[in-house]
């Protein structure tokens, strides 16, 4: 990626078409893919079909894909399938587990191509790739945002020893049109639309948590994949719409521990569907109260230095979840169990991937 003195020609972003899978959870249809065709067609898709497995989900012609329904998930994971949610888009994390690629991009089926202020279609995937391939800068905030973007740099006062940055594990994109609000906010402001295009990518500083939305999200699966468990949501569970939040808080704690970076900002997609706020309120209800306990828990979470891999970090976190959140609600004991099951399933399906991340954050190949 472009680094150092700027040159007049901008190097083009690699497609990474053999290194990236697009994971899409769906319960209805994949019509939205038609609009994405120019950008997505080079890539392999992993479709995770939620809900009734006997229903046929038609994938538009010309896409290379694998599709998994609930029967497939049960067959592949056996008893460990209990960790994968049913009737909730959280099931998408099954796609992360079965992928064999280095990078994942996940997108919701009600997300379309947005336009930038000049009217040009935004290639969200290309921007995510740029974000992931350029370093992050979590240790000191750069006031001109991502210093690795064209036309930007580190500002006066930014220590030179921190200018190399760290590997980027996560690229969190945003949404124009229907904003990702919780149910109470949706009820109070049903007509509010996000029309503000903020032309920035920035690293979320070390020690800072954020609400990670899974609608438009990319990550380096080799660096951080096992932490992207989207939890127990949906059918039979007391909570919904906190799947991505859970994964984001776990992931951020682990990234901070391992010296990896998380970026947020561009790219934007166009979010077209506002879900029913009353339905959302029922799903989120427990989450709204529980998050008051969850945030202090994650803010205070520390991992011992012996946790040098994502899996070890994650299992350690699951112990802390059990110990400290079990008393908030028995759900968290179940979730802690599911976190362990997830790691076991991940390691079973990905036996040769044991990326050892040294304590200073540099990722060594296995």
């Amino acid at each position: 990626m472009a680094r150092g003195p700027s040159s007049s020609s901008v190097p083009s972003t690699p497609l990474l078409k053999d290194e990236l899978d697009i994971v899409i959870p769906t319960i209805r249809n994949l019509d939205f893919l038609e609009m994405w065709r120019p950008f997505f067609q080079p890539y392999h898709l992993i479709i995770v079909q939620d809900g009734d497995p006997s229903k046929t989900i038609k994938v538009p012609e010309g896409f290379d894909y694998e599709l998994y329904n609930r029967n497939d998930i049960n067959r592949i994971l056996g008893p460990k399938a209990s960790c994968i949610s049913f009737k909730d888009s959280a099931c998408r994390c099954f796609g992360y587990m079965v992928s064999k690629k280095k990078y994942i991009y996940t997108i919701d089926d009600d997300c379309f191509v947005a336009k930038d202020p000049s009217g040009k279609d935004i290639n969200a995937l290309e921007q995510h790739i740029k974000n992931l391939l350029a370093p992050s800068t979590p240790f000191f905030f750069n006031t001109l945002y991502d210093p690795f973007r064209d036309g930007a740099d580190f500002v006066r006062g930014y220590p030179f020893s921190l200018r190399e940055g760290v590997p980027t594990a996560v690229s969190h994109g945003l949404w124009l049109n229907i904003p990702d609000y919780d149910a109470p906010t949706q009820l109070v402001k049903p007509l509010e639309r996000n029309t503000r295009f903020v032309d920035a990518v920035l690293t979320i500083p070390k020690g800072t948590l954020f609400p990670m939305c899974g609608m438009n999200l990319a990550f380096n699966r080799e660096l951080i994949g096992p932490s992207m468990y989207f939890g127990l949501m949906g059918d039979g569970q007391p909570i919904g719409r906190y799947d991505d939040m859970w994964a984001g808080w776990c992931t951020k704690v682990i990234c901070d521990h391992l010296g990896l970076g998380v970026k947020t900002g561009l790219p934007y997609i166009w979010h077209s569907k506002a879900s029913n706020p009353f339905v959302n309120l029922k799903k989120e209800y427990n989450g709204i109260f529980w998050q008051e306990e969850l945030i202090p828990f994650f803010q205070a979470a520390t991992l011992p230095k012996e946790c040098t891999t994502v899996q070890k970090c994650y299992v350690e976190l699951s112990k802390q979840v059990r110990e400290k959140l079990g008393k908030v609600d028995p759900y968290f004991n179940k979730l802690a169990d599911a976190m362990v099951t997830w790691i076991e399933a991940w390691d079973e399906l990905n036996p040769s991937e044991n990326a050892i991340i040294s304590a200073n954050g540099s990722a060594n190949a296995k």
Binding site: P5, S6, P117, F140, F141, N142, T143, L144, Y145, R149, G151, A152, D153, F154, V155, R156, G157, Y158, P159, F160, S161, L162, H172, L174, P179, D180, Y181, D182, T185, K189, E192, R193, N194, T195, R196, F197, V198, D199, A200, I204, P205, K206, G207, T208, L209, F210, P211, M212, C213, R241, Y242, D244, M245, G248, T264, E284, I288, Q291, E292, I295
Partner: protein
């Protein structure tokens, strides 16, 4: 939320490092003319200042500074002259903009009222405890996103507003030398809170703050040997920004960064400056880890007391590393003495 920016709440402070300020004042006329403007003349400037008519302003010179402050070890020359403006102001809010800056224009070509934007930033809460992915949730047309804890949605008082610059960005000497033609053309339509325990280089080029709270902290302590008149040779703002962030974090207050933008003319020959020892760049390697490790006792409850504690730590831990830090600690303590005598009367 709609805001009325009261004229009487704000002083604009300008450091006059050259005599002809016509372009500055004419460029800002529609925006500056409603406010009182404090102009501090650089010690080394002998010529009279040219200021066009129609502005409510007061010029302070070296003799005014000497009369008000008395004998002091603090050097108020060069870019540091503006701190006298912070001291002498009696308003709740101070906005300071470098004299080589003009109003920027937004993507629609409209001049940006940097003063009002700073005041809006300072009058709306900051949210340092959890990052909002849609940036400032108090801006029109946006809000807290799903997953943002409700107990954190009231936010805290914002006392520092750090603006940005189009055209000539605030780069250091090596970057400027290597990229002499790089211009910042990207207008990022965002204000965001700097999270708790996150530090950043605060640029004094375009800044606003709550003087009643942060006055004791916005101090001219870090002065490099042979510091000239070029912005890239200064560190005073970086230093007081680090102190200010420690104070904000400790007292549960907020700092924001982002808009407003100003259009900075900049200029100068960075290669010439590179020939001198660019000590500031080396000092940051010590400064950042130091401030990141500062923990103040819980009993410290005022900005002044925070500064006393920080100064002692600077002297103890950084003093042995370089003499410039011992001088900074001295300056911090000296500033507090002056502030108690002169500055705090502004409340």
């Amino acid at each position: 939320m709609s805001f009325v920016v009261e004229d009487n709440d704000v002083d604009i402070v300008i450091a006059a490092l050259w005599p002809d300020l016509t372009a500055l004042f004419e460029g800002w006329r529609p925006i500056f003319s409603r406010f009182h403007i404090i102009i501090i003349k650089d010690y080394d400037l002998e010529a009279d200042l040219h200021i066009p008519p129609g502005f409510d302003h007061h010029i302070y010179t070296k003799s005014d500074i000497e009369r008000v402050v008395g004998s002091t070890s603090i050097n108020f020359s060069g870019h540091s002259c503006r701190y006298f403006g912070y001291l002498i102001s009696s308003k709740k809010y101070v906005v300071s903009i470098d004299a080589d800056c003009l109003p920027a224009r937004d993507d629609e070509g409209r001049p940006i009222d940097a003063i009002s934007q700073h005041i809006i930033n300072l009058k709306t809460p900051a949210t340092p405890f959890f990052f909002n992915t849609l940036y400032d949730p108090f801006r029109e047309g946006t809000d807290f996103v799903r997953g943002y804890p409700f107990s954190l949605r009231t936010g805290v008082e914002c006392v520092l507003s750090c603006g940005l610059w189009l055209n000539a960005a605030d780069f250091d000497v090596p970057t400027q030398a290597v990229k002499p033609h790089e211009k910042n053309t990207r207008y990022v339509d965002a204000v965001l809170t700097v999270p708790l325990r996150t530090f950043m280089p605060v640029s004094g080029i375009n800044i606003g703050f709550n003087r009643h709270v942060l006055g004791p902290v916005m101090l001219p302590a870090m002065r490099l040997d042979g510091e000239g008149k070029q912005r890239w040779g200064t560190m005073d703002d970086i230093w007081c920004g680090m102190c200010a962030k420690v104070v904000c974090d400790h007292l549960g207050l907020g700092a924001k960064t982002g808009m407003p933008y100003v259009w900075r003319v900049g200029g100068g020959n960075a290669w010439e400056s590179l020939k001198k020892e660019w000590k500031g760049v080396k000092l940051m390697e010590e400064i950042v880890p130091f401030f990141q490790s500062v923990k103040l006792p819980r009993t410290v409850a005022t900005a002044e007391d925070c500064v006393i504690q920080i100064a002692a730590m600077v002297r103890g831990r950084l003093g042995p590393v370089d003499e410039v830090f011992s001088r900074a600690a001295d300056a911090m303590e000296e500033w507090l003495r002056i502030w108690k005598r002169v500055g705090s009367q502004g409340r």
